[in-house]
């Protein structure tokens, strides 16, 4: 069965420091991969997605993610975070064969001044 694991429920990081939010998935078939962000009191919105091609995907607000098929991972990175990046980040996987989509439990990013 398809599953998505976000290894860290909370990640504290100092402002202007780099950050990596981890996402691993289990699927025996081809997948589409997404990162969504939920700012306080707002709905989820897409940060970036991987469909095919280059394994390094760039998204909005300076975020990027790298698809690693051998490690079944899709970790999200930003080289320098800002206080406005405070939010909850969700990794999601669409199983192309079984026509399913699953979200991870989310990682709350805390930016420390």
């Amino acid at each position: 069965a398809q599953s998505v694991t976000q290894l860290d429920s909370q990640v504290p990081v100092f402002e202007e420091a780099p950050v990596e939010l981890r996402c691993n998935y289990s699927s025996s078939v081809s997948v589409y991969l997404f990162w969504y962000v939920q700012y306080p009191n707002q709905g989820l919105q897409l940060l970036l997605k991987y469909l095919s091609g280059s394994t390094l995907v760039k998204g909005i607000n300076g975020f990027e993610a790298e698809f690693n098929k051998s490690q079944t991972s899709f970790h999200l990175r930003k080289p320098s975070v800002h206080i406005s990046d405070t939010a909850e980040y969700f990794c999601a996987v669409s199983d192309r064969q079984n026509d399913k989509i699953i979200f991870g439990k989310g990682t709350r990013l805390h930016i420390l001044p």
Binding site: V4, Q6, S9, Y32, F34, Y36, Q42, G43, L44, Q45, L46, K49, L51, F90, A92, S94, R96, D99, K100, I101, I102, F103, G104, K105, G106
Partner: protein, 114 residues
């Protein structure tokens, strides 16, 4: 372009009462999703529509939950009767149609069952 609209934003009811949530997707989006989001958790799919057809309702508790999407546009999600454990945020999202397409989420309806 208007976003996904949901109403009400907040709802407080007593257990065993019925409740309904409404969603208006982005114009032209064929696919509509209803999710349940518990505190500290990610969205869990309840039902996915492609136009009027429910193509995935495997996670919808059909003994108390029902949904409809008449005319393939607006959708309503109903719970009858509500239980304490149904307290959560109910999210609606829409997309153009493929699983590769971006989902656009509404602000959600926060349900509290007393």
């Amino acid at each position: 372009e208007a976003g996904v609209v949901q109403s009400p934003r907040y709802k407080i009811i007593e257990k065993k009462q019925p409740v309904a949530f409404w969603c208006n997707p982005i114009s032209g989006h064929n696919t509509l999703y209803w999710y349940l989001q518990n505190l500290g958790q990610g969205p869990e799919l309840l039902i996915r529509y492609e136009n009027e057809e429910a193509v995935d309702d495997s996670q919808l508790p059909k003994d108390r939950f029902s949904a409809e999407r008449l005319k393939g546009v607006d959708s309503t999600l109903k719970i009858q009767p509500a239980e304490l454990g149904d307290s959560a945020v109910y999210l609606c999202a829409s997309s153009r149609g493929q699983l590769s397409d971006t989902q656009y989420f509404g602000p959600g309806t926060r349900l509290t069952v007393l």
